[in-house]
């Protein structure tokens, strides 16, 4: 069970703070796979990363992250180290390059585990079982990353990241570099990992909502550093309340077709820049239904069980 309260993280730049994430409050239940969607630069990666790996130029401003009842010291790189991997783990966007090119994979895992005071040999049987599960030969352990194909690397990273059965797994854009068939396999694996209890909760960060339709239990939509809407997947697709979510869904060409462009062309205008964002609802300028009230920041309210939205029109 992940509880995020009022989490605010800025980027420190030479020109001032970029308000990349503001007042994020939501929960992810045990066993829940939550999709985190939005345009590039909306703060979804910031949100994902700040839970596990908050480092400069990211700046912790305020808020709490509680995992299984225990507060994560996300503002402290050193203290946070203990929680990483065991409790929170990450499948990074750059999974293709995530493995040290000059170490054999088995050796790298061994060194990683030993650096966390764990015994590689004890974990090895389980590691092999999981390699079987993702249909990787055990020989992978004796290989260098360069000897693996992209898909193999991706699966290896998934196995490595979930090896210690973390409570929370953050999967960051894991499908963007893969072809459609591999994409599907990877997604199914994520579900399987959850089903087998390797991970409790999962956050999948993606700009590709169609992926989420297949595997996510719920979807959280972000816009310009703020949460717009969170609801079970079905609700989001059938009954989205935030105009932005509606436009996002509406802009999808067809469910299941891979969407390549980073920016959604269907929505006119572009998100405000976050260095000095305008007050009120940040979607206001692009919103077809904006009205006077929108100059105030809309709260992120639960309008029906499990359905949260931040829009004056939706309450």
């Amino acid at each position: 069970m992940l509880q995020v309260e009022n989490l605010t993280v800025y980027y420190k730049t030479l020109r001032g703070y970029v308000r990349a994430l503001e007042r994020a409050t939501f929960t992810v239940a045990d066993g829940e796979i939550m999709g985190l969607a939005g345009e590039s630069g909306c703060g979804k990666t910031t949100l994902g990363h700040s839970i596990i790996y908050l480092r400069p130029p990211m700046n912790y401003i305020e808020g709490r992250v509680v995992l299984d009842g225990q507060e994560l010291p996300i503002w402290d790189m050193e203290r946070m180290r203990e929680f990483r991997y065991r409790h929170v783990s990450l499948i990074p966007q750059y999974a293709m390059n995530a493995l040290n090119p000059t170490r054999k994979i088995g050796k790298m895992i061994a060194e990683l585990l030993e650096s966390r005071e764990m015994n590689y040999d004890e974990i090895l049987p389980e590691l092999k079982r999981r390699l079987d599960l993702v249909q990787l030969s055990h020989d992978v352990l004796k290989m260098y990353p360069i000897e693996l194909s992209g898909g193999m690397k991706q699966r290896t990273v998934m196995v490595v990241s979930t090896l210690l059965n973390p409570s929370l797994l953050i999967a960051d854009e894991i499908t963007s570099a893969l072809d459609v068939s591999t994409q599907k396999a990877v997604c199914e694996m994520l579900v399987e990992f959850r089903d087998r209890g390797f991970v409790k909760s999962t956050i999948i960060i993606t700009h590709d909502i169609s992926i989420l339709y297949q595997i996510a239990d719920s979807i959280l939509v972000m816009y310009a550093g703020q949460l717009s809407e969170k609801a079970p997947t079905e609700t989001i697709f059938r009954d989205a309340r935030h105009p932005y979510t509606q436009m996002l869904i509406g802009s999808l060409p067809k469910v299941g077709v891979r969407y390549q462009e980073e920016r959604l062309r269907g929505i006119p205008g572009s998100p405000p820049q976050l260095l000095d964002p305008p007050p009120g609802c940040r979607f206001r300028d692009r919103c077809p239904v904006a009205f006077d009230r929108c100059v105030e920041v809309p709260p992120f309210l639960e309008i029906s069980p499990g359905h949260f939205v931040a829009c004056w029109r939706a309450y």
Partner: protein, 283 residues
């Protein structure tokens, strides 16, 4: 890498390394230009008693023959910048030409050029320079600069080749190629602009390398035979026993200037790298 000009200037000014490096270089450039007017002594004229330590009259003292060291110094500075400018330009130009061609054309052209580059890279530059320089009985700053430029390109060619290679396979270049844009247009329209910052860094390193190479050549006695340079000053100082006689003001300034200029160029290089490469930017 696609920094806008205003943005570039903004970050450039904010970067301390860049500020320091550029200031030092500019200082010496000004000294090289203005210096000759600050001294009333021609560089090789006997103006005063021998081996005077620095004084009000002779800021850097005099040589064992009674030549004004400051005057030689500022004239030598000028030569240093000429060598850096010409040698650096030729070296960079050849590097770009060969590196671009190899990286962009690929295939056999690349294979052959790469092999040539590797061969030239292995043969020690100085050994070749020594031979060429010994061959020329009359040598001037210009010849020297050209020689240095002609032998300094291989590493630049290799680096540029690698860069071009990575840019060549980018989507937008593919797109341009598919839509039938000519090679030259792609190189100068698509690839070159994306490499400008990189080329600037290469140029700075070539400049510094040329200055150091020239100093070494001059010092060994293969430099210009008809003018003064910083390397020659050190050469003369050694030949004329400035060490045992303790005439330190003869050999300290020229070396110091070279070190300062080249060092400042390197620091500028790092600063620029930080400006161009946001990952390295200081926050």
């Amino acid at each position: 890498m696609g920094l806008k000009r205003s943005e570039f200037l903004f970050f450039a000014w904010r970067n301390r390394k860049l500020r320091i490096g550029v200031s030092i270089v500019i200082f010496f450039v000004i000294l090289a230009i203005v210096g000759p007017f600050l001294t009333k002594y021609p560089p090789n004229e006997y103006v005063e008693a021998a081996a005077f330590p620095p004084s009000k009259e002779h800021w850097f003292g005099t040589t064992i023959f009674g030549q004004d060291v400051f005057s030689q110094f500022v004239h030598g500075l000028k030569a240093t910048f000429v060598v850096g400018l010409i040698g650096g330009t030729i070296g960079t130009f050849l590097g770009i030409l060969i590196g671009f061609t190899a990286g962009y054309r690929g295939g056999m052209v690349d294979e052959v050029l790469n092999m040539v580059t590797n061969i030239v890279l292995i043969i020690p530059t100085l050994a070749v320079l020594i031979i060429i320089a010994a061959y020329l009985t009359v040598r001037g700053i210009l010849t020297e600069s050209v020689l240095i430029g002609l032998t300094a390109w291989p590493w630049a060619a290799r680096a540029i080749r690698a860069q071009t290679f990575s840019l060549r396979v980018r989507d937008y270049v593919d797109l341009a190629r598919m839509s039938g844009v000519g090679s030259m247009k792609i190189i100068f329209g698509e690839i070159a602009p994306n490499m400008m910052s990189y080329l600037l860094l290469v140029y700075i390193l070539q400049f510094g390398g040329a200055v150091l190479n020239a100093a070494a050549l001059d010092f060994i006695g293969l430099g210009p035979t008809n003018t003064i340079s910083l390397g020659l000053m050190m050469n003369y100082a050694l030949l004329w026993a400035a060490l045992p006689l303790g005439i330190w003001w003869w050999f300290v300034p020229p070396g110091l200037a070279i070190t300062a200029i080249v060092g400042a160029l390197y620091v500028t290089n790092v600063g620029l790298d930080e400006v161009f490469n946001p990952k390295l930017r200081e926050m």
